[in-house]
């Protein structure tokens, strides 16, 4: 019965219009803003469920398609659709938005209606970006979401928020404009802005490399990859908790999604030529950024660096494909790497969200993110400590949690490519254990450090609920990843078959 509904349009416009409604109705009534915001977020989440249940497994076709003429002069269409790559990310977005809205309940005190509105509008824009089949439509959503995020960090952020938010905006803007030029160039060649038409467009190697680099600028900044990652720690540290959660759980995934949707299928030959660069950058992210994370004294900064290291696994998984092919002569392992990267993205969405929320819980109580200000939290907040340890374990990739599945798949794929790549990638298991468990040791365990910690109260029902939901998904994905893999399989096989064909 849902098949004929414009589900995707509903998912895009319900939160955007709902956000403006919250703005109008809740300006002078914080309670209205909170409840209405929650209602919209939950409504969007419920509306996104049909995507999961009605989704046809076993086909790489775009599903839930909607098509309407938008800018006839440039042959740009309002063309929506999802496949096995974008659908899980949309569900992640709707779920995380509910979490963020609830998390803001008490912790955001200033101009709550604006905050809720910004979050909901951002949700709609992110879903729109994941669902776009038209490159201009994609770009519009891709850029438009910078505006609410810019305001969220700038208005509700910490002391250096202005610096952080300007850096965030200009970095991402810088990356994306080159992609715009590349998209326009391909439009001139193909006469269409449909992304699928770009996939089929034959392009010479030089042009492919330039296009690849343009996409690389856009998506590497988003992920972020070394060496364009420096905006992320600043943005994370200064952003309010909800902003950090959205940033880590969803916005970083946009870069990974972009590589799968644009770079690999549009420029397969350039990807094959430049894969060493991508693999080296990914390994630097995994090893070097992991080391950087070790020495952080600010909890949020530590988790931010850990995010960069974990996203290194995503790009590693994606770009191993060609290496594996030249090594083993078949594309079997390539699917494994890409699927591993996808699982890692979803899993990181849950884990990083939970970690930032956990820091938010502590910050709400003591207004400090410094590790040195804590110690022995387990004595006063046992429930919180239990969750914190669980997510820390998930972050290190403990089997049974979702963090394990993706990393394991990527390392497995790496072994097919080259032993040393696998070896370096696997050091993350040690490094992540190092920085995460050391964090746990210093913050959670030990004797009660000071009077402030002694006066802490454990999580309330709201916080407990948020942590519980995220813990549930982390464990579910950890022990039973099959449904997720099932959804992605056909699409990833199709993608691998596509990049196996040279475009030259």
């Amino acid at each position: 019965m849902f098949a004929d509904w414009p589900v995707l349009s509903l998912l895009i416009w319900l939160p955007i219009l709902g956000g403006f409604l919250v703005l109008v109705a809740g300006r002078d009534a914080p309670h209205v803003a909170r409840r209405l915001g929650l209602a919209v977020a939950v409504g969007t989440f419920v509306a996104s469920l049909p995507l999961w249940f009605m989704f046809e497994r076993g086909t790489a076709e775009m599903q839930f398609q909607e098509l309407a003429s938008w800018i006839p002069a440039f042959n740009v269409n309002y063309h929506l659709g999802v496949d096995g790559i974008s659908m899980p990310l949309i569900l992640l977005t709707t779920l995380i938005t509910v979490v963020v809205v609830i998390a803001a309940w008490e912790s955001v005190k200033d101009r709550i209606a604006y905050y809720m509105a910004a979050m909901l509008v951002m949700e709609g824009l992110m879903i729109g970006m994941f669902a776009s089949m038209d490159a201009v439509l994609f770009y519009v959503f891709f850029e438009a979401m910078l505006i609410p995020m810019f305001l969220v960090i700038g208005i509700w952020g910490g002391p250096r928020r202005v610096y952080a938010t300007l850096k965030f905006f200009l970095y991402t803007f810088l990356g994306s404009v080159f992609m715009l030029v590349a998209l326009i160039w391909m439009y001139i060649q193909s006469g269409s802005f449909l992304i699928q038409d770009f996939h089929a467009l034959p392009i010479g190697l030089t042009a492919q490399i330039l296009i690849f680099l343009a996409f690389f600028m856009a998506f590497a900044v988003k992920i972020p990859m070394f060496p364009v990652h420096t905006w992320l720690p600043d943005a994370h540290v200064e952003a309010p908790t909800g902003g950090s959660v959205i940033l880590a759980a969803i916005m970083l995934k946009i870069g990974g999604y972009g590589f799968l949707r644009f770079s690999l299928p549009i420029t397969p030959d350039a990807s094959a030529v430049l894969d060493t660069m991508m693999i080296v950058l990914s390994l630097i992210a995994i090893v070097y950024i992991g080391l950087v994370a070790l020495i952080q004294s600010d909890m949020k900064k530590l988790i931010a660096y850990s995010s960069i290291a974990h996203m290194g696994f995503v790009t590693l998984g994606f770009f191993l494909a060609f290496y594996i092919y030249s090594n083993t002569g078949d594309w079997e392992g390539a699917s494994l790497g890409i699927a591993g990267g996808m699982v890692q993205m979803i899993s990181h969405g849950f884990i990083s969200a939970a970690m930032f929320l956990a820091v938010g819980v502590l910050y709400d109580r003591l207004h400090s993110r410094q590790i040195a200000d804590y110690g022995g939290v387990v004595n006063t907040m046992p429930w919180f400590a239990a969750f914190f340890v669980l997510f820390a374990m998930a972050n290190t990739g403990l089997p049974g949690t979702s963090g394990f599945v993706g990393e394991f798949m990527v390392i497995l794929a790496a072994f097919r490519a080259d032993f040393w790549i696998a070896f370096l990638a696997a050091t993350t298991l040690i490094l992540a254990a190092g920085y995460t468990l050391w964090l746990v040791k210093r913050v959670i365990f030990g004797a009660v450090a000071n009077d402030n910690v002694a006066g802490l109260s454990d999580m309330n029902r709201r916080e407990f609920f948020l942590m519980g939901v995220l813990a549930f998904f982390t464990l579910l994905l950890g022990v039973w990843p099959a449904p997720l893999l099932d959804v992605m399989n056909a699409t990833i096989d199709h993608l691998v078959a596509h990049i196996a064909q040279s475009k030259l």
Binding site: R27, S69, W70, I71, P72, A73, F74, Y114, V136, Y139, V140, F141, E143, A144, L146, I147, F150, L151, G154, I155, R161, V162, T165, L166, F169, L170, F173, L174, V177, F178, L180, V181, I184, W185, Y187, I188
Partner: protein, 482 residues
């Protein structure tokens, strides 16, 4: 030589505006200062009626009249309507500003109406002479408008600069025109184009010589680098209401002027003027965007921003394709709407003795008046070219025009400078949303009637046109390509 009565019909809007301008001039002379609103109302009614006439007579065919010195085609109709709309907005925004400063005089509106007439003739000129006449009518009205707050020394200084440099540009233009006339033997745009196609190789050097003067004069009038010096000084020195006027509608007319002269007239020499315009475009983008960062006055900042926008406009035109011209036309209309809103906001925030023309004056606007901070946010993001505002599609269109003729490097230069440009627009957003209000501006801004409503509509139009850009884009494509 036989004299035949020309077809007056295509020029009815021009004749109507001329008649009304003369009539209002007379009526205004008999009005006491307290009844100045009658002048205002009549001028606005004239614009509305002229828009009605133009729309009513709109048609797909190209009509030449007055011995082929005047042309009416879809491009002219659409650009004229755009001029009426922006001028209407400008007069509406200006009235409270003028009233508060005790300079609410009839001259402002009458001069404005004559300037509108000049623009209409520029848009419909099909002969070097008629084009020149239109331009001079606009320029002379503009000089007087800048000077019209005569007690204000800065405005007078700005007027002086504007007049001297503008006169110089007109001289260059005439010189170039005379060269072209000498080589082709005609003032008629269509005949010039035909002569150029048939022209002998040996005429090439004098023709390019003439062309250089035309391009320089056009660059002067539009304010492209390196002929931009007057723009920041005049924008800053003129009363904000006049700046608002100079920055909007005349750019639309200047676009048409450029189309008639360079594209329709000198079209066969496209290869020659393309190179010149590339230099002008790159310089304008670079200088406009970089120097805007250093400004503390928002009027000067927007002046440099205008220079950068001219660079983008040139990118569309120099492509030399129909879709490039259509993109440039879209760009100039979008620019006029956005600039009207931007300068309108300065007018809106200013009061007697407080001009709100410093960037710092925007500090904390989100706390003082969240709604208008939001409107300004939309306008600034549109100028920066961030979707979903309409400014993005304007940039998309001109970049596409450049990429379409293999000028990818130019497109990349343009986007790099647009990132640099994004910084100074963002800085204003930062002041509005992240900073606390300054002492002098602590009291909430009171929205007042028509101005507030129009400004809100202006801002929302930037967003709505961004969500539904198809109509306006199709319209400009229809105007150029048919």
């Amino acid at each position: 030589m036989n004299f035949e009565i020309p077809d007056f019909l295509p020029a009815v809007p021009e004749m109507f505006v001329l008649g009304m301008a003369c009539l209002i001039l007379v009526i205004d002379a008999f009005l006491p200062d307290s009844r100045r609103d009658i002048t205002y109302g009549l001028v606005q009614a004239t614009l509305v009626a002229a828009a009605g006439l133009t729309l009513w007579m709109m048609g797909p065919e190209t009509v030449l009249t007055f011995s082929d010195t005047f042309v009416k085609d879809p491009m002219a109709d659409i650009l004229k309507v755009a001029v009426y709309v922006t001028s209407f907005l400008v007069f509406l925004y200006s009235r409270p500003y003028l009233m508060e400063r005790g300079i609410h005089k009839g001259e402002f509106y009458v001069l404005g109406l004559f300037a509108v007439l000049g623009m209409m003739i520029m848009i419909s000129g099909h002969n070097l002479l008629s084009l020149y006449l239109g331009l001079e009518l606009l320029s002379l009205s503009s000089y007087a408008l800048v000077a019209f707050w005569r007690d204000n020394s800065r405005a007078t200084e700005a007027a002086m600069k504007y007049f001297v440099l503008g006169a110089l540009a007109s001289g260059l233009l005439l010189y170039g025109m005379s060269m072209i006339y000498g080589m082709t033997g005609s003032l008629d745009i269509a005949v010039i184009a035909a002569e150029l196609v048939a022209a002998d190789e040996s005429l090439n050097i004098p023709l390019v010589f003439g062309l250089v003067f035309l391009v320089v004069a056009i660059a002067f009038k539009l304010g492209a680098v390196p002929f931009h010096m007057w723009v920041p000084d005049v924008y800053d020195g003129a009363p904000t209401a006049v700046t608002l006027f100079l920055a909007t509608a005349p750019k639309i007319a200047a676009f048409a002027f450029l189309m008639r002269l360079l594209v329709e007239g000198m079209g066969p020499m496209h290869a020659d003027w393309q190179g010149m315009m590339i230099i002008l475009a790159v310089l304008s983008l670079a200088v406009g965007n970089v120097i805007a960062i250093a400004q503390t006055s928002i009027k000067r900042m927007l002046a440099y921003s205008t220079i950068a926008h001219i660079g983008f406009l040139f990118m569309g035109i120099l492509a030399g394709t129909d879709s490039g011209y259509a993109s440039a036309m879209f760009y100039v209309i979008v620019y006029a709407i956005t600039a009207a809103g931007g300068f309108g906001m300065i007018v809106f925030l200013s009061r007697e003795g407080y001009e709100a023309d410093q960037i710092d004056d925007f500090k904390g606007l989100a706390k003082r008046n969240p709604w208008f901070a939001f409107i300004m946010l939309l306008l600034l993001f549109s100028m920066a070219g961030v979707p979903p505002t309409v400014g993005f599609y304007a940039k998309l269109a001109v970049i596409q025009a450049a990429v379409g003729v293999d000028l990818v490097w130019l497109a990349i230069v343009a986007v790099i400078f647009s990132i640099i440009g994004a910084f100074y627009y963002l800085r204003v957003v930062k002041m509005m949303f992240f900073d606390d209000p300054q002492d002098g501006a602590a009291e909430p801004v009171q929205p007042s009637g028509a101005l507030a409503t129009a400004l809100s509509i202006n801002g929302l139009a930037v967003l709505l046109l961004g969500i539904f850009p198809g109509l306006l884009l199709s319209l400009t494509h229809y105007a150029i390509i048919g």
